[in-house]
Amino acid sequence: MEILLPFMIGILFAVGLYFMLHRHLFKLILGLILFGLATNLFLFVVGGITRSSIAIIPETEEVATEPYADPVPQALLLTAIVIGFGIQAFAIVLVRRVYQTLKSNNLDELNSTDKT
């Protein structure tokens, strides 16, 4: 699976970026979410993946028994996911607000600071 995941992540990046380059506000959010997802997976894979060996110390042991997954990327990921969620939620509400105020779903019309 290690060999397939990089391709999936690459495609996720590409689709996310493609959506972000769209003019449509809604697609901007979709792109943002996909991009975030891709980044998280990227970190996960870069940290090195092992199959089904979780980073939990068994009840009987005092130190983790080999093999176990690297906990450091996981800890990073947790933080990244949560912060990513904060950004997503903010972006969704912001887009809603922009749409409500300016009645436009076109990013190209939002290129000046003054209402026209």
Binding site: A55, Q74, L94
Partner: protein
């Protein structure tokens, strides 16, 4: 000297406050200060006349060689006396000219600031100290020209003067740095005492050209002369003080100062002679074309400045002697004439030569001042201007290079000076006219006293040149000529060729005066010439800059989000490709194809699911479907986390994904519906960028997998997690214990995001909500 300057800065900033406190009496401290300075410099006279040089230094940034070092020698003292003495008179004159203005305090602020800066220029010993004061004079000049800031002409002219002299300031800095690099000295004293800066030195040419550029812009030499006539938009005290007597002479001062260091070479002499004489001729010709008296004076000033530059270029002791005498004489009569014109403008409301007739009987004292100055300007016998003119002719006739060119310039400008002087002292005052221009109100005491005093001084110096002016001029002369030749000044040299030439000049000049109306009648050819001159070039460049900047900004900062993103991503890709190409080995996938056999079926199903979801997402038009499909992708990611030993991450991902879908659905009806917006052509571009970026990321991942890094942290946390932190779930232990503060930061970020969301939801500007 430092304290004199500091006091000047302090007083200048106090001026607006004093104006509020003292009202009309503001003029008293403002006049007394330059007078005190004048007196202070007078007390230095005996020492300097004995040949001493007063040096003072205060450390500022010694490691950079930038110190507040001052030097008072003959040349410095001559200028210091001129600046402070003239300053006192101008301050007094300002009261009469602008006494009623509510902005008088501000005007005095600028004027005093300028005076202090100008004193700094002429007293500085340190090169960089000089630079700072030099720039300060440019800035104050800008402020003073633009004093009537409600007039567009004033603003444009102020800009122009600032840009031209500012560019010169830049050249000055470059030149000074090169000078410092080449000679290793930071002060004029060291430069003068050290070895001569040889013309063969590789830095000689660039340093000299840069310094000359600085002097030419400051002293309004061709082709940078155009800012000076435009600067006449300033109130007349400014024109009299900055733009005839002092600031424009800063360039001449610097040339004279640097003469002993840089002079004596072919480049120096040729450039100065060519430029100076060209400026002289241009100024003289244009002066005859205008009827606005201030413009006429401005062009004669340009002409005179050109003469001074030529004299530094001739570079013989005689020429330098002529330079000093002419400089002093010019400051005296030109300042006077400016003040007279200002007073006339103030009294009659016009300064057009064609409108002004027969003012003599009404403005007797002004007429007297104008006559005194005019006679000096024309170079009539007992006046100081005569001494200057004689020396000027003699020096140009004995010029080692381009003799006829230099003398021609001096002669033509001499004619123009006589004509202009006749116009100013005879034409507008005494020329018989049927109707004389009505005088609205007589000029006050402060308007006619300063010009009268200056005019009288011109006569006094002329009557006894050897006793009054000569000693100080001699000291100055020794500084700039670096010889000990004595300087003799005499009014009467006998019936020499020079005297005959003087007589010819005066008679031809008077003839020219009677032709003036005709010359002013046919200005069209000259006007066209002038309109297409450097002034136009300046405006074209100025507009071009603005347009170019706008176009550039529009190009780079177009306001289109996707263009920014494309730029960022493409730049990132370029960097990545560069680094990969330079440092990284190529990946070898053939070694790892066998790994495909280990892929389990459920993993493959998930993989295909994500691909299908993405494909669907690209084609759907429904917002609800998009959200559902997004959720699918998110959950699949969570499953991947579970499969590869990260249950905590998976749990978080599931939660987050659910929350995101919920928020989306809740706000769905308020979000914009899909419409087709992109153009086909752009689509390809975006597809290209996206695919490029995606494939690069894939490549990087594959590369990283091939060269896996082993982390010691994994072992550390595996061992320490239970023993030190008493937790069995290592990931949790890291988050809440080992890296607890990171988690606190994360929580803070969430809190801020929540605040932002709350504000966005509550904000309601249309319905009168608070912003």
């Amino acid at each position: 000297m430092l304290f004199a300057l500091l006091a000047g800065f302090m007083l200048s900033f106090l001026a607006p406050v004093l104006h509020r406190l003292l009202g009309k009496l503001l003029v008293v401290p403002m006049v007394l200060f330059p007078l005190a300075l004048f007196a202070y410099f007078c007390t230095q006279l005996p020492g300097v006349l004995a040949g001493n040089v007063l040096l003072q230094g205060y450390a500022w940034a010694p490691s950079l060689g930038i110190n507040l070092q001052f030097r008072l020698d003959g040349l410095g003292l001559l200028f210091a006396l001129l600046v402070s003495g003239f300053g006192a008179l101008v301050m007094l004159y300002t009261k009469g000219y602008l006494g009623e203005s509510p902005l008088l305090g501000r005007f005095y602020l600028y004027l005093t600031l300028f005076m202090t800066a100008m004193l700094g220029v002429v007293l500085s010993d340190n090169l960089f100290c000089l630079f700072i004061f030099w720039e300060l004079t440019s800035i104050t000049s800008f402020l003073l020209i633009g004093f009537d800031s409600d007039k567009e002409e004033a603003r444009t002219s102020a800009w122009q003067a600032l840009l031209v002299t500012g560019a010169g300031g830049l050249a000055l800095m470059g030149g000074l740095i090169l000078l410092n690099l080449a000679t290793g000295s930071y002060t004029f004293s060291a430069l003068l005492n050290g070895e001569k800066f040889m013309a063969t030195h590789p830095l000689y040419l660039p340093a000299t050209l840069l310094l000359l550029l600085a002097c030419f812009t400051k002293s309004a030499q061709f082709p940078f002369h155009f800012w000076l006539p435009n600067a006449m938009a300033a109130p007349t005290p400014v024109s009299a003080y900055l733009h005839s007597a002092t600031m424009v002479k800063a360039g001449i001062y610097l040339l004279a100062r640097l003469g002993p260091v840089l002079g004596g070479t072919e480049v120096w002499q040729m450039v100065l002679l060519m430029v100076g004489t060209a400026t002289t001729l241009l100024g003289a010709l244009l002066a005859l074309q205008y009827t606005d008296l201030k413009a006429v004076l401005a062009y004669t000033t340009i002409s005179a400045l050109g003469l001074m530059v030529s004299l530094t270029g001739i570079d013989t002791p005689l020429a330098l002697k002529a330079l000093l005498v002419f400089l002093l004489a010019h400051a005296l009569y030109k300042g006077t004439l400016f003040m007279v014109v200002g007073a006339i403008d103030h009294s009659t409301g016009t300064r057009d030569a064609q409108m002004l007739r027969g003012l003599g009987p009404h403005l007797k004292l002004l007429a007297a001042a104008a006559t005194l100055a005019g006679l000096s300007m024309a170079g009539i016998l007992p006046f100081f201007g005569f001494v200057g003119k004689e020396l000027l002719y003699e020096a140009t006739l004995h010029s080692p290079r381009l003799t006829w060119w230099a003398f021609g310039g001096a002669f033509v400008s001499g004619l123009a000076f006589v004509a202009v002087a006749s116009l100013l002292s005879y034409g507008i005052f005494w020329h018989k006219a049927s109707v004389s221009t009505p005088v609205k109100h007589a000029p006050s005491f402060s308007l006619y006293l300063p010009p009268l005093l200056l005019g009288l001084l011109g006569l006094l110096l002329g009557l006894s040149p050897s006793s009054l002016a000569a000693p100080l001029l001699e000291q100055a002369f020794q500084v700039i000529a670096s010889t000990t030749t004595e300087l003799h000044l005499a009014l009467w040299h006998g019936f020499t060729t020079i005297f005959v030439l003087s007589l010819v000049t005066v008679s031809l000049g008077v003839l020219l005066y009677f032709l003036l109306p005709r010359l002013q009648q046919l200005p069209i050819t000259y006007q066209r010439l002038y309109q297409n001159g450097p002034n136009k070039l300046y405006h074209l460049t100025f507009k071009g800059f603005l347009k170019g900047a706008k176009a550039f900004t529009r190009r780079v900062q177009g306001g289109y989000l996707r263009n920014y993103m494309v730029t960022i991503v493409l730049f990132f890709c370029c960097l990545l490709v560069f680094v990969l190409w330079r440092d990284a080995p190529a990946i070898d996938l053939s070694q790892r194809v066998h790994l495909l056999q280990e892929v389990r079926l459920y993993e493959l199903v998930l993989w295909v699911l994500v691909m299908a979801a993405l494909l669907y997402l690209l084609n759907t038009r429904s917002r609800l479907t998009s959200i559902v499909v997004m959720g699918l992708v998110g959950y699949s990611a969570a499953l991947f986390y579970i499969l590869f030993g990260a249950p905590d991450v998976a749990a978080t991902q599931l939660l987050i994904e659910t929350l995101t879908v919920v928020i989306f659905v809740l706000l769905l009806h308020k979000l914009p519906a899909f419409t087709y917006l992109s153009h086909q052509y752009r689509k390809y571009k975006f597809v290209f960028v996206s695919v490029l970026f995606g494939s690069l990321m894939t490549y990087v991942l594959l590369l990283v997998q091939e060269h896996a890094v082993t982390s010691e942290l994994q072992q550390f946390y595996g061992k320490a997690s239970y023993l030190q932190a008493h937790g069995r779930n290592i990931v949790n232990v890291i988050l809440v214990d080992f890296r607890g503060f990171d988690t606190l930061g994360e929580i803070t970020v969430l809190a801020v995001a929540a605040l932002g969301i709350f504000a966005l939801l509550r904000l309601n500007p249309e319905k009168g909500g608070k912003r």
